[in-house]
């Protein structure tokens, strides 16, 4: 029988028992939807990690003071991670090449009659290079493919130097919007503004920036804020020594784990952290590398994926058995029809094809419905997983293939049974 004839036969047979076919499909629908959602979670985790790769280089370690839940609130633990800790780390830990440090504080900035409440970030002198290399922002209208330099960001001003950072110089660099708010369009360079109760000289204005990630643009305005040497911020804007956030650059990315150990023992020594009775250390700092983020993301995604994989397997097997069951019933119901077909010249493979195609038709339809359901369920999976889920394009053909395979595997036995019927018995069947 030609494929068109076979397809017509299968379609007609399924459509005469629509409800039965739809109920039979359910298992496959759920199974396939689970496969889609499962792969979307894995893919989302991968995408999230890739996004993190951009901001955190392979040779970088983030260090911050450890926070713990206390009385229902997140509280810093142990000793403050200080600016001095960072400076000393640079000079004593062999694998450390560079330490970027920052603190941030909300301040009132004033020039003349204009006052704005903004975020001040105290940084080291290489922060401007950090902005360039992060890839998070670009000058407005910049061609995304071309690279830009620190000077491209600063126009006719300049950023503060390492010497100014060491000296705690009273200088600052303004964000584009903040400069507009304070100076109403006049040139701010060389002017002195008040930052809380500290005077500081404006030495540069960062050009207008936009987020490179279009979807991110509404979230935060990179043009509001001001940058000052970290030492200046610590000395003049804080009463007590604040905790700093560090990004440590390691000399060799391959030795990053070794560097972590060196930094850990250095900080334990500096913060006088002793082994407790159980042989553990109560560290008061947290270190994060790209691999750590990768591990966390994958861990979360893996647990949930495993659950979905189990669900997919169970649904697909149950769905397959359902198809097999319905096909057995169908073969029995149509025994006489099979006899007639054999009598008019149908070969065994014609009968096998007919029933196999019917079960594939059911499972493939279930597969298509499952793909749609799975895509619709992706946001739900993401929410339950508290993570990201992103449709993995390859999962669509894969899931469809699985559905077809289910139809073949579970349809084969009923189809073979149909084909092996004795034509005489089949014709006589009531």
């Amino acid at each position: 029988m030609s494929l068109i004839d076979l397809l017509r036969t299968a379609l007609r047979s399924v459509s005469t028992n629509k409800l039965r076919a739809i109920l039979t499909m359910l298992g496959v629908v759920i199974g396939v939807a689970s496969v889609i959602a499962m792969l979307a979670l894995g893919n989302g985790a991968r995408a999230a990690v890739e996004a993190t790769f951009q901001s955190l280089g392979a040779n970088q370690i983030q260090i911050g003071q450890r926070f713990a839940m206390e009385d229902g609130e997140l509280q810093p633990t142990g000793k403050t991670l200080t600016f001095a800790d960072g400076l000393e780390m640079l000079s004593t830990v062999p694998l450390v090449e560079r330490v970027e440090m920052s603190v941030s504080k909300t301040v009132k900035a004033r020039f003349g009659k204009n006052t704005v409440e903004i975020n001040t970030i105290g940084t080291t002198a290489d922060a401007i290079d950090g902005i360039v290399s992060s890839g998070d922002v670009q000058p407005v209208g910049w061609n995304g493919d071309a690279s830009f330099s620190a000077q491209d960001l600063l126009g006719d001003g300049r950023f503060f130097s390492s010497d100014e950072v060491y000296a705690g110089a009273p200088v600052c660099v303004l964000g584009y919007q903040t400069a507009l708010d304070l100076f109403s369009g006049d040139n701010p360079i060389g002017e002195t503004i008040w930052v809380d109760r500290t005077r500081c000289e404006v030495i540069g204005v960062i050009t207008e920036l936009e987020s490179t990630d279009v979807q991110n643009r509404y979230r935060s305005d990179p043009n509001e804020g001001l940058l000052m040497p970290i030492s200046t911020v610590i000395q003049t804007l804080y009463d007590d020594e604040p905790s700093v956030y560090m990004v440590v650059h390691v000399k060799n990315a391959n030795r990053i784990d070794e560097a972590k150990e060196q930094i850990t023992s250095y900080l334990r020594q500096r913060h006088q952290i002793e082994q407790n009775a159980d042989g553990n250390y109560q560290d008061d700092f947290d270190m994060t590398t790209r691999n750590d983020i990768l591990g966390q993301q994958q861990e979360a995604a893996r647990t949930f994926s495993l659950l979905l994989a189990a669900m997919a397997t169970v649904s697909l097997v149950v769905g397959g058995i359902g198809i097999m069951n319905v096909m057995m019933v169908s073969v029995t119901e149509r025994t006489r029809e099979i006899g007639v077909r054999l009598a008019v010249g149908a070969k065994q493979r014609d009968i096998v094809s007919q029933f196999l195609l019917e079960s594939i038709f059911i499972s493939a339809s279930g597969g298509l419905a499952g793909i749609v359901l799975g895509i619709l369920a992706i946001p739900l999976a993401a929410a339950l997983n508290q993570g990201v889920a992103l449709l993995y394009p390859g999962s669509v053909p894969l899931a469809f293939g699985v559905a077809v395979l289910i139809g073949i595997v579970f349809g084969l036995y009923p189809a073979l049974r149909a084909a092996r019927l004795d034509p005489i018995e089949a014709l006589r069947y009531e």
């Binding site: 029988m1 030609s2 068109i4 004839d5 007609r12 047979s13 005469t16 006489r336 029809e337 006899g339 007639v340 077909r341 054999l342 009598a343 008019v344 010249g345 149908a346 070969k347 065994q348 493979r349 014609d350 034509p423 005489i424 014709l427």
Partner: protein, 234 residues
């Protein structure tokens, strides 16, 4: 004389039932020439269905030989038998055996559909329509069997048996499920077809039906005998 359509020699079919063996057909010798109209009579259980199944290639003989248009069939594989059956044999059943989900023309075209690559859908349709017009049912081509009367159904079934231009048409009690008036019409049609040259073997226990045949065979306990009776009846 031309080559016989059907020739059987000592055709035997035995079934084993546990320890005992039941011989449903015993050394039947039958020769049917083109254009003949044979009636096969006998009580139920006499073996006529067994013989018909063997002639229709639906069953295999235990011993003896059967030549269909000169071809010995005992050595053919199942699919070869199916192919030969589809091309050279037309079946007409007592209960019509039409497929309920198919339109009349699709039922008629079914034997063509199983000849891989030989007939496209359009080809099937036009041939089915032609054949339906031979049984005066062209106007019912799109109807489902459920929408047809008994006589119409049997005419659709006859068209299905005719469409392949088979060597022989095997009719198993074709009027058994019809009222007598319709039965007579169907017999008329079969007789017409025979006069056009179709070879027909009909199983019946209705003497009025058998009367249309050129020769009548009787079956009794698995033994086939030609009856002189037909000549008397005619």
């Amino acid at each position: 004389m031309s080559e016989p359509v059907i020739r059987t020699e000592k055709l035997t079919r035995a079934y084993s039932m546990g320890a005992s063996v039941i011989t449903a057909l015993r050394e039947a010798d039958l020769t049917v020439h083109p254009g003949e109209f044979i009636a096969l009579m006998g009580a139920s259980g006499s073996g006529k269905s067994t013989l018909l199944n063997l002639l229709g290639l639906l069953d295999r003989a235990t011993s003896g030989e059967y030549l269909l248009e000169g071809t010995p069939v005992s050595s053919l594989r199942r699919d070869e038998l199916a192919d030969l059956r589809g091309r050279r044999i037309g079946f007409i059943f007592q209960n019509f055996n039409l497929l309920p989900r198919l339109a009349a023309w699709e039922n008629v075209a079914l034997p063509l559909a199983y000849r891989k690559g030989e007939f496209g859908v359009q080809d099937q349709l036009s041939r089915a329509r032609e054949t339906l017009s031979r049984v005066q049912l062209e106007h019912r081509a799109e109807h489902n069997p459920m929408e047809l009367s008994g006589g119409e159904r049997q005419r659709v079934a006859i068209a299905r048996a005719l469409i392949t231009q088979p060597a022989v048409i095997l009719a198993d009690e074709p009027t058994g499920n019809l009222d007598s008036k319709t039965g007579i019409e169907i017999m008329h049609l079969l007789k017409e077809l025979n006069e056009e040259g179709r070879t027909i073997i009909i199983v019946t226990h209705d003497l009025n039906v058998a009367r249309n045949a050129s020769r009548i065979y009787h079956m009794l306990d698995g033994v086939l005998n030609e009856s002189e009776w037909a000549h008397v009846a005619n």
